[in-house]
């Protein structure tokens, strides 16, 4: 692996950070249009981040060191996880550093510190958010792993770049295991990124929030980092779905033309996914917390069916 590919890997990682607010802004805009509102400009999340970074950060008397360090850890862990997911090209060394299991581990690390930060100040809402987040993720994480294991077993590799390349080579054979894995992963992505029907990113209604309850005590740059991390997570799951299941257009080398094509392709796919998300958020309502297990059990069941249909039907054949 040459030095230039490492530079490209760094650029791709920076692109993740730069694009993350844009996707959130796009989803919000699409949602607003679907609800017959004009909505804020697509670039509004950037302005919000700028505003928060400029503002003073304040902390509760009871907050400890962990409260201050957590935003950095959460942001960096998610960023590292994201930079291992192929965005424009599969020819980068980052995918070899961290395979899908490491990505899942980094997501779990971010969640661990997010939940701890929620409990740090010692308010009732923080603890509630942390408890619910860990509850939801405990059910979502196995489903996510099973879904990606289906892909990994098919491609005989847990390296995401290899998985994508295998997908491209197999010329989109419609495998039942892929359909199940895709369905499972979509449900997991909705739950993990805190979207309706599991959590509502726009709510501040005390008793229904999950993610917002954990970051309730944050302000200023700390809050900016937490918000940015959440946007990064949305982009990560979006890219995972877009590039792994629909790998068309992704560059397999690092030539400039191929990279531009890759950018165009992934932007189109993410824009479509964003509209789909906005649509589902418009037609669905938020579930009660104890309906969520049924939702995630379905995800786990679908993912497991995918894996089983792969090992039973597809390996022997």
């Amino acid at each position: 692996m040459s030095a230039s590919s490492w530079v490209l890997a760094l650029l791709q990682a920076l692109l993740y950070v730069a694009l993350a607010p844009l996707l959130t802004g796009w989803v919000r805009k699409a949602k607003a249009r679907l609800q017959n509102r004009r909505g804020a400009p697509v670039l509004q999340p950037y302005r919000e981040l700028y505003k928060l970074f400029a503002k003073e950060a304040r902390m509760a008397h009871t907050a400890s060191v962990l409260f201050r360090a957590a935003p950095y850890i959460v942001f960096i862990a998610l960023w590292l996880a994201a930079s291992a997911v192929p965005l424009l090209t599969t020819g980068l060394p980052t995918a070899a550093i961290a395979d899908v299991i490491v990505i899942a581990g980094l997501l779990a690390l971010a969640r661990f510190f997010l939940a701890l930060a929620g409990m740090d100040v010692g308010t009732a809402f923080g603890g509630m958010g942390a408890s619910r987040e860990m509850f939801v993720s405990a059910l979502a994480e196995p489903a996510m792993l099973m879904a990606v294991f289906t892909l990994a077993m098919t491609a005989h590799s847990t390296n995401l770049a290899s998985v994508v390349e295998y997908q491209l080579l197999s010329h989109n054979v419609l495998r039942p295991s892929y359909m199940f894995a895709l369905a499972g992963l979509v449900l997991v992505a909705v739950a993990e990124t805190g979207r309706i029907p599991v959590d509502n990113p726009a709510t501040h209604l005390e008793l229904t929030m999950i993610h917002e309850a954990m970051i309730l005590e944050y302000s200023g740059r700390h809050l900016a980092l937490m918000e940015w991390a959440a946007q990064l997570k949305l982009l990560l799951y979006g890219t995972l779905l877009a590039n792994v299941f629909f790998p068309w257009g992704i560059a397999q080398d690092t030539g400039p033309v191929a990279l531009c094509l890759g950018l165009a392709a992934v932007s189109t796919k993410l824009a479509l996914l964003g509209v789909a998300l906005a649509l589902s958020e418009t037609v669905l309502t938020k579930m009660r917390l104890f309906r969520v297990p049924a939702f995630l059990d379905l995800a786990l069941l679908l993912a497991l069916l995918g894996l089983l249909s792969h090992v039973i039907l597809e390996v022997g054949a």
Partner: protein, 667 residues
């Protein structure tokens, strides 16, 4: 290699010396702190040195002790497998030796006899070392009993508490039922091999039926000691009852000695691998892992919670072993090596982080005299070093990168993901289901340790004595620090340690990992570089460098962060009583998995007119397995009572009848 064997001998000698010198603590309690505990630590260090030498040099060393029976001298043997477990025993004992002097001070003024604490701890360590070194079933069983009996006295150390006496008795009972199964297992092997020496047993050719009998006996005996579900119920009673540094040894090390016994008997002595056994081990392991973590989530006594997590982690180790048996049994030796290394790596990891967490629990007990999570809170500000080390332990046990628990879980997943190479469709689908259970276990473990750390170390103190907790003495901090640093090192440099471990599958399975470091030390590639790679040093470097840079860039305004009251949606300033408790935190999970627990919940009006909420979550294993057995034993005993008429002539008649029958059997 003889040097390594000598070093191991020195370790046993030092442990025994520590035990003998502890007797003087009866007159001068200081002896325990100033002499016995340092000797204990040195014994650990010698054992670690022996183990590391054995792993690096490879090869096998044997020796003979000038003890034992005339026709059966005690033989010892040090190979890579023993060496690895000497390392596990040594490193935790060393940390306990550092930690002990600060911790045992609190017992000096107490009523409990400190000489018993030091004496039995030394014997306990010597017993564990000898189990690992034994080369014949006779010495193995003697050492095993030495280990079990001395730890019984340690569990019963605080015997003025009736619950502890009950726990100790239960422990003794289960240890002996397990010991009996192991003894019978050795009996089967010895009768085919023609002797009690392990060499003879290795050469034995067992038919499938008898080897299965030996397997089941060994699995039951060692599994009982290791705390596999459904035989685990004694473990969360007994381990927390001992003083904390002993709990660290019991959970961190003694369970590993049971795992060692299982590996030695199955992989080395029986030496046959059938996929049916692999499935049995895999299923029991997965169920143990999941049940262990679910029951741990329901606990609010910190030490009990940690003990339940031992059940979980032993389950994860057995998942790895089960995969290894399964793969070997179906002719995939290279994959078996991956699974085997994963299990061994998790053995080391669990010893490190569980030792660390129990030492942390001991530190809280030492400075706040509290075991109940519901009374804790805000300890990070009272004891920052313990808080940091405990956080390391929590991250490690939750299998989060870049710490050590993640590496072994990653390896286990990698082994499970190779299931497509198996020929049978049934096996191909069992393995992914086990992997799903492992994933669920990992996620629940993370939830559990968010609960533990969030409730104990963050937030505000929920009781007065916790609010006034003091930092622990330097010796206790050092003991925890050593283990915390090792947790990080094993997570960041997995290739180095996998390279060390590799000698074990090479000797036991005849095949090591050929590809593990194919792309250099930065990349861990257990199966092949194309299949999977994990650049642990790079991930750790990126994580620490970026977080450090971020804190340096933006954190310069640290002094400028103004403090204010908590926002909490604009309600009145929160009081400690308004925080989420440990029970509340786990409530959603309790509700979803309620079928697996025995929940006794009621709201009732007390005599003083106040409403009280009562919640008791108990282990279903009691009702399903333990109590029926206990009742059956009592019933059988009542039948035997009929013989007891009090008439001497009838007793003599029974004796005579027995004698006649025996003579008839012999003749």
């Amino acid at each position: 290699m003889t040097a390594a064997l000598w070093s191991a001998g020195v370790a046993v000698g030092l442990a025994l010396l520590s035990a003998v010198l502890s007797l003087f603590a009866a007159w001068a309690p200081r002896v325990l702190r100033l002499v016995a505990m340092p000797l204990f630590g040195l014994a650990g260090l010698a054992s670690l040195a022996a183990g590391v030498t054995a792993l690096i040099q490879g090869g096998v060393a044997t020796g003979e002790l000038p003890m034992g029976l005339p026709w059966l001298p005690w033989r010892i043997r040090l190979d890579a497998l023993s060496g690895l477990f000497l390392c596990v025993i040594g490193v935790v004992s060393f940390a306990v030796g550092l930690y002990g002097p600060g911790y045992v001070r609190r017992f000096e003024r107490g009523r409990d006899p400190v000489q018993a604490l030091g004496g039995f701890a030394g014997l306990f360590l010597a017993g564990m070392l000898l189990v690992v070194l034994a080369d014949d079933a006779f010495l193995f069983m003697v050492a095993w009993e030495l280990m079990s009996l001395s730890s019984y006295f340690l569990v019963a150390f605080h015997h003025d508490n009736a619950a502890n006496r009950r726990a100790a008795f239960l422990y003794l009972l289960m240890a002996h039922i397990g010991g009996l199964a192991i003894l019978l297992g050795f009996g089967v092997l010895a009768s085919f091999g023609g002797g009690f020496a392990f060499d003879a047993m290795r050469g034995a050719q067992l038919p499938f039926l008898w080897s299965s009998v030996a397997f089941v006996l060994a699995f039951a005996g060692f599994g009982m000691k290791a705390g596999l579900v459904p035989l685990h119920a004694w473990l969360p009673e007994a381990h927390p009852a001992a003083p904390s540094h002993i709990s660290a040894l019991m959970s961190g090390v003694m369970l590993k000695v049971a795992v060692y016994g299982f590996i030695r008997v199955l992989f080395d002595l029986i030496g046959q691998f059938h996929w049916q056994w692999g499935v049995a081990v895999l299923v029991i392991g997965s169920v143990s892992a999941l049940m262990g973590v679910l029951y741990a989530l329901m606990q609010h006594d910190l030490k009990r919670l940690l003990a339940y997590h031992s059940v979980e982690n032993i389950g994860i180790i057995f998942i790895g072993l089960g995969l290894a048996i399964l793969f070997t049994g179906s002719g995939h030796a290279a994959l078996a090596a991956v699974a085997f290394v994963a299990a061994l790596y998790h053995c080391v990891n669990h010893a490190l982080f569980k030792g660390l967490l129990f030492l942390g629990a001991g530190a809280i007990l030492h400075s706040a005299n509290e075991r109940d999570l519901e009374s804790m809170g805000g300890l990070l500000r009272r004891m920052p070093w313990t808080g940091l080390f405990f956080l390391t332990g929590c991250i490690s046990i939750s299998a989060l990168p870049p710490f050590n628990g993640f590496v072994s879980e990653w390896l286990t997943f990698q082994a499970a993901l190779q299931a497509w190479q198996l020929d049978s469709g049934v096996l191909r689908s069992i393995v992914p289901i086990a992997a799903a259970m492992l994933a669920l276990t990992g996620a629940l473990a993370a939830a559990c340790f968010v609960k533990v750390y969030g409730v104990a170390f963050l937030g505000q103190a929920r009781s007065r004595h916790v609010r006034h907790a003091r930092p622990v003495p330097l010796s206790m901090r050092t003991g925890q620090g050593v283990l915390a640093v090792l947790c990080l090192l094993l997570g960041v440099l997995p290739t180095t340690f996998v390279g060390l471990l590799n000698e074990v599958p090479r000797q036991v399975l005849g095949q090591g990992l050929s590809q593990a470091t194919a792309h250099g030390w930065l990349w861990l590639t257990p199966v092949s570089p194309e299949t999977a790679s994990y650049g642990a040093p790079l991930v750790a470097f990126a994580l620490f460098a970026a977080v450090g840079l971020g804190l340096w860039l933006f954190g310069r305004g640290i002094r400028r962060v103004r403090r204010c009251d908590a926002w909490d949606c604009g309600f009145a300033p929160p009081t400690p009583g308004m925080q989420y408790t440990a029970t509340a935190f786990a409530q959603p999970i309790r509700r979803v998995f309620s079928l697996l627990f025995l929940i006794d919940e009621a709201v009732g009006r007390q005599e003083d007119g106040q409403l009280r909420h009562r919640l008791q979550v108990s282990d279903r294993a009691w009702g399903i397995l333990y109590l029926p057995v206990a009742r059956a034993v009592e019933k059988a005993a009542r039948q035997v009572v009929r013989l007891q008429s009090g008439n001497v002539r009838i007793y003599l008649g029974w004796s005579l009848a027995t004698l006649v029958v025996l003579l008839w059997v012999i003749a």
